[in-house]
């Protein structure tokens, strides 16, 4: 803005003193910069204020006035701008030119037309020579942030923080948002806020990769939402955990969060403490859609035939069952109950089986049947508990549970 102010003051001076010679010289200088501006404005359309990465050096206000255009021309901050927008910065300048006191505008324009265009062989001072930037022009429209990351301080800082820009640019409008933001003004505040909430440094990168839109949320809104969560008696570590594991949490309004918590309490019939534990262990429940959860709840009660208290126990232990694929859940249960013959109460005690892949359970069960060791009833001898069946890796399973070698298991798998 300083440069712009200087320009206006120069014109004002030239108008005030009304000495044509003086004004011609001033205008020559401004015209030269004007030509440079004209070239650079259409080329460096999207430079932000902070042109170069800091890296411990002073920021340099470059000649490219595209940055001024950026800040003044709020309508045209689009990466993928149309052809018409290309002309608008120049038009904008002409509009600005009209703001100058109209009494001497005519003289101004007359003088302007007489000045010859600047030549490349004109002598300029050392300082100006150093200030000339000879980098290739930035593309006007691009589908990737790769082209802008070296020239934009915001993007460079985000990359150093650990944000995966290749994933962020795939999200709708996220790339434009990041380019428009300024690291010092907008992003730093929000990162410090997240750190206050308790998020670790190495988590900031993944959170921003998943939810770059959090940088566009108002600071007051963020604070209200965290205050709401604390008012519901979620501890500090709990809130930090929830924010790290569900990056979209703070983009939800307070009413929405309230609705979700109320739903879990009423529908699942859990106590307040248990709802809190459930949400802390799987914060995704608050950010995902509620329809599949309702469906899964109904499926478990009606089709699978679990009683309400059994369901509550399962859900407290393995909340993932609420977001699991309905068809796979039914298939797994069908195999466990009908083929393996496991009754409901044992399944309630070991709900981890619903988490594992059906193929794994099938293979291991068939191997145990082949060996004659498929005994899942605790009352009988040589009983095998279900959690050991699914959670152990292959070597441990073979040696301890099946009491056979891994080679035998592989040979058996090839006969299936």
């Amino acid at each position: 803005m300083a440069f712009w102010a200087r320009q206006i003051s120069i014109w004002y001076l030239s108008v005030k003193t009304n000495s044509v010679a003086n004004s011609i010289q001033q205008l020559r200088k401004t015209h030269r910069t004007w030509m440079q501006l004209h070239e650079l404005s259409v080329l460096s359309f999207l430079c932000t204020d902070n042109h170069f990465p800091q890296h411990g050096l002073k920021t340099y206000r470059s000649v490219s006035l595209g940055s001024r255009l950026q800040s003044t021309n709020s309508n045209n901050g689009q990466i993928l701008s149309e052809e018409t927008n290309l002309l608008s910065p120049v038009n904008h300048y002409q509009q600005q030119a009209e703001v100058i006191p109209s009494s001497d505008t005519k003289t101004l324009y007359e003088v302007w037309e007489d000045t010859p265009p600047s030549s490349a062989l004109e002598e300029i001072s050392e300082e100006e020579a150093v200030q000339i930037v000879a980098e290739p022009p930035l593309p006007l429209g691009s589908f990737t942030l790769q082209d802008y990351v070296d020239r934009s301080e915001t993007l460079s800082q985000l990359v150093l923080l650990g944000v995966d820009l290749s994933k962020v640019e795939k999200r709708p409008n996220a790339g434009q948002l990041l380019l428009r933001l300024d690291f010092e003004k907008d992003i730093r505040k929000r990162l410090l806020f997240l750190k206050d909430v308790g998020v670790e440094d190495n988590q900031l990168g993944p959170i921003l990769t998943q939810n770059p839109y959090i940088l566009a949320v108002d600071m007051e809104a963020l604070e209200t939402r965290v205050a709401y969560l604390k008012s519901k008696k979620f501890g500090k570590e709990a809130v930090a955990r929830m924010v790290s594991r569900a990056p979209f949490l703070l983009s939800f309004s307070v009413e929405r969060l309230d609705n979700r918590l109320g739903f879990f309490q009423k529908e699942l019939g859990l106590s307040v403490q248990k709802t809190r534990d459930l949400v802390v262990s799987l914060p995704r429940l608050l950010t995902g859609s509620l329809e599949p959860i309702k469906e899964n709840w109904q499926v478990c009660q009606v089709e699978l035939g679990f009683r309400r208290n059994e369901m509550q126990h399962i859900v407290s232990k393995i909340p993932k069952i609420l977001t699991a694929n309905k068809r796979k859940l039914i298939e797994t249960f069908d195999y466990l109950h009908n083929v393996m013959g496991i009754p409901h109460h044992i399944l309630t005690n070991f709900p981890q089986v619903f988490n594992s892949k059906l193929l794994r359970v099938k293979e291991r069960h068939m191997f145990l049947t082949f060996l004659g060791r498929a005994q899942y009833d605790p009352a009988q001898p040589s009983y095998i508990s279900l959690d050991k069946l699914v959670s152990m890796p292959d070597e441990v399973f073979c040696t301890e549970i099946a009491k056979a070698s891994v080679k035998d298991f592989e040979k058996f798998l090839k006969t299936l």
Partner: protein
């Protein structure tokens, strides 16, 4: 780029995996591709490119502060993996003869340049071997034990002897069809040479043909057959089981179809799901290179010579 090419050097050829039952073969191919990509992308990344930049700096000069340019070497962030994305996003993995969802067994996949060998293998018309398990006493609409039940019959009268008689009849009729489709005149020297090397088989598209069939186990109601065939589908094999049941004046359904050999790839070469990683696949490709080359030369070489001889005799006939 160079790292990607170096990583893919060993990955050009054919290898076999063991497809488990209940999974579509396209899913198997996709999961192999995803696993390989994950491993390749996590290998050693080259250092990020550096670029020499001239950055302005204010230094204390003779006349107060001066603007000069300092030379610094900065990393080019556009080449950073977080900005560029993963190096490899796609691998050319082709599938050989597919298996349907319910069956299992040896499934040949080709990587990179090996996909060309897949076409050659298809044109060489190799035979494949299956073990098929069946169950007497039921008949369903899709010939397998998970279909809708249509009929239930008794099977006490079925003995191993009767079964083997039926199998011999099937083998005989199929053998005649094989000879007919091979387009060979059995009274020539060429036919003798081919028979000695066991290469008499049709070298073009034909209906499914069973080259050999025998009974491995017989414990009513269950039985197990070994079938060597070509140009078949798994559903055809299930239909064969159903027809065997009908011939024996009972009914049968097929419980398991398992491919034990596809061309020169057997069960020993097939990699299990737990062994799907880069090192094992590289080893498997290396081991099977020579075998595949020899087999293809045998089949396609003979095919070329047969074609040449046919044209020679035609020319001789025309000139006369």
């Amino acid at each position: 780029m160079a790292a990607g090419r170096a990583a893919r050097t060993g990955l050009n050829g054919l290898f076999a995996v063991y497809k488990p039952p209940g999974v579509a073969s396209i899913r198997v191919r996709d999961s192999v591709e995803t696993l390989l990509l994950k491993e390749l992308n996590s290998l050693e990344q080259p250092a990020v490119q550096q670029q020499v930049r001239f950055l302005p700096n204010t230094v204390e000069g003779n006349a107060g502060k001066e603007l000069t340019l300092t030379v610094t070497q900065l990393p080019v962030l556009a080449a950073h993996p977080l900005v560029r994305g993963p190096e490899l996003t796609h691998l050319k993995i082709g599938a050989g003869h597919r298996l349907d969802t319910k069956s299992s067994g040896v499934f040949v996949l080709g990587v990179g340049h090996g996909n060309k060998l897949l076409t050659d293998m298809y044109n060489a018309h190799f035979t494949r071997a299956y073990t098929v398990r069946g169950l007497f006493g039921k008949a369903t609409d899709d010939f397998s034990d998970t279909g809708r039940l249509i009929e239930k019959t008794t099977f006490d009268h079925v003995t191993r002897d009767k079964l083997e008689r039926i199998l011999a009849v099937i083998q005989g009729t199929n053998h005649k069809a094989l000879l007919m489709y091979s387009n060979i005149d059995l009274k020539t020297q060429e036919a003798y040479e081919l028979a000695v090397e066991r290469l008499i088989r049709p070298m073009e598209k034909t209906p499914p043909l069973i080259t050999a069939i025998r009974c491995l186990q017989f414990a009513p109601p269950e039985f197990q057959l070994e079938i060597q065939c070509m140009h078949e589908t798994q559903q055809y094999l299930r239909k064969v089981v159903h027809e065997i049941g009908l011939e024996l004046k009972s009914t049968a359904v097929c419980t398991q179809v398992r491919r034990t050999r596809d061309g020169c790839f057997t069960l020993d070469n097939a990699l299990l799901r737990t062994h799907w990683n880069l090192q094992n696949i590289r080893n498997s490709i290396r081991d099977s290179k020579v075998k595949v080359k020899v087999e293809l030369q045998r089949s396609l070489g003979h095919q070329a010579r047969r074609g040449k001889r046919h044209t020679d005799t035609d020319q001789v006939a025309e000139s006369e």
